[in-house]
Symmetry: C2
């Protein structure tokens, strides 16, 4: 198909298609005459993947490009792609707080990881984010929220196991690799969305109870 | 204290402090002489809150400013702030996919909400994000991931209840309002971080099992 049809079928404007091609995120079409380039079904799928990562998953163009380069590299595995996808979705901010507060938060996270019997490297991108969250809770005197971390951890553990089990059912390696990426990026978006919905429900119930009680 | 000390004690550079003041996110200090402005302890706390929302929580300056304006408005309540914080953290992307696919995803989300007996408005910012995630899963043939949504929903429901219970213990209304914001923004960051850690653990265990098995 021509670029116009590719744009129509995916809803992605022609200038964006050209931009993704220049950035190396979308393979170029096949030039079949001096002024005609042909695109295949695989281009449709790739554009959908780009949109899922950037628009639904909230990744920056740079982060999405990194993830796609990982998917395209010949030796990629589902476990390896999980690491690439994790690094791409994790924002690492500058360190804040006093050294003492930071060390205390480091210890608390290490203990949490030990309590849940998790075998992970401290370089895991989630580790550092979690330390920052703990520092922020301490700095802002929200100790009540700290008590919730074990609940979050329990939920995260059970979801990770379910995700990996779902994953085993996927037949091809390519689909497994893409699934590892989408499970991470879209899984975060799904979980955040469901938290919004559940929070409204709980908040409404409590408010109604207090009004009738 | 002077602006230099405020910068030193918070780790926020002087130009950033001035920027936050111009944006209305930080109240101006008190001018005590033609060339001296005095800042209070409350400015330290506000700067920590700004940094928690933007650096740890990943909010844009505009979104953080909106949340802070909500906190500062006289009539704000914890339930109301939850809505403001939710809207700020929710990215709404353009619609994609065919109408048919969109309607199908809408129905699936409505059924999921019904299954979990959630009383929420369809305008809830999570609702639309979730529809987009479902469309993306369908478009990319990741049906296995769809099966996980009920697990995510179950976890989100139990976490929302725990969050609200933690919240009830907070003595002052001001702290409750700030807690609603931080519970939403930093709670998302904490959950995503813990998913990274748990995923690495599960992925490693499975790989080790397959190597020794």
């Amino acid at each position: 198909m021509r670029i116009g049809e590719l744009a129509r079928r995916t809803g992605v404007p022609v200038p964006s298609i050209k931009y993704y091609t220049r950035e190396g995120m979308l393979p170029p079409g096949e030039r079949i005459s001096p002024n005609q380039v042909q695109y295949a079904e695989s281009h449709i799928r790739r554009l959908k993947l780009i949109r899922a990562l950037t628009e639904v998953g909230g990744l920056s163009i740079a982060a999405a490009a990194e993830v796609l380069a990982g998917i395209d590299s010949p030796g990629s595995t589902p476990h390896g792609m999980l690491g690439t996808a994790q690094a791409a979705v994790s924002k690492v901010a500058a360190e804040r707080g006093t050294d003492e507060m930071w060390e205390c938060a480091e210890r608390e996270v290490a203990e949490l990881v030990r309590r849940h019997d998790w075998a992970v490297r401290p370089e895991n991108p989630g580790w550092r984010t979690l330390v920052q969250v703990v520092v922020a809770y301490h700095e802002l005197d929200q100790g009540e929220l700290l008590g919730l971390l074990d609940r979050y951890a329990q939920a995260a553990g059970s979801l990770a196991a379910a995700e990996l089990a779902a994953f085993d059912g996927v037949p091809s390696l390519d689909a497994q690799i893409e699934g590892a990426v989408l499970g991470t990026v879209l899984g975060d978006a799904a979980m955040a969305a469901l938290r919004r919905i559940a929070q409204e429900d709980v908040s409404r119930r409590v408010r109604e109870r207090s009004q009738t009680g």
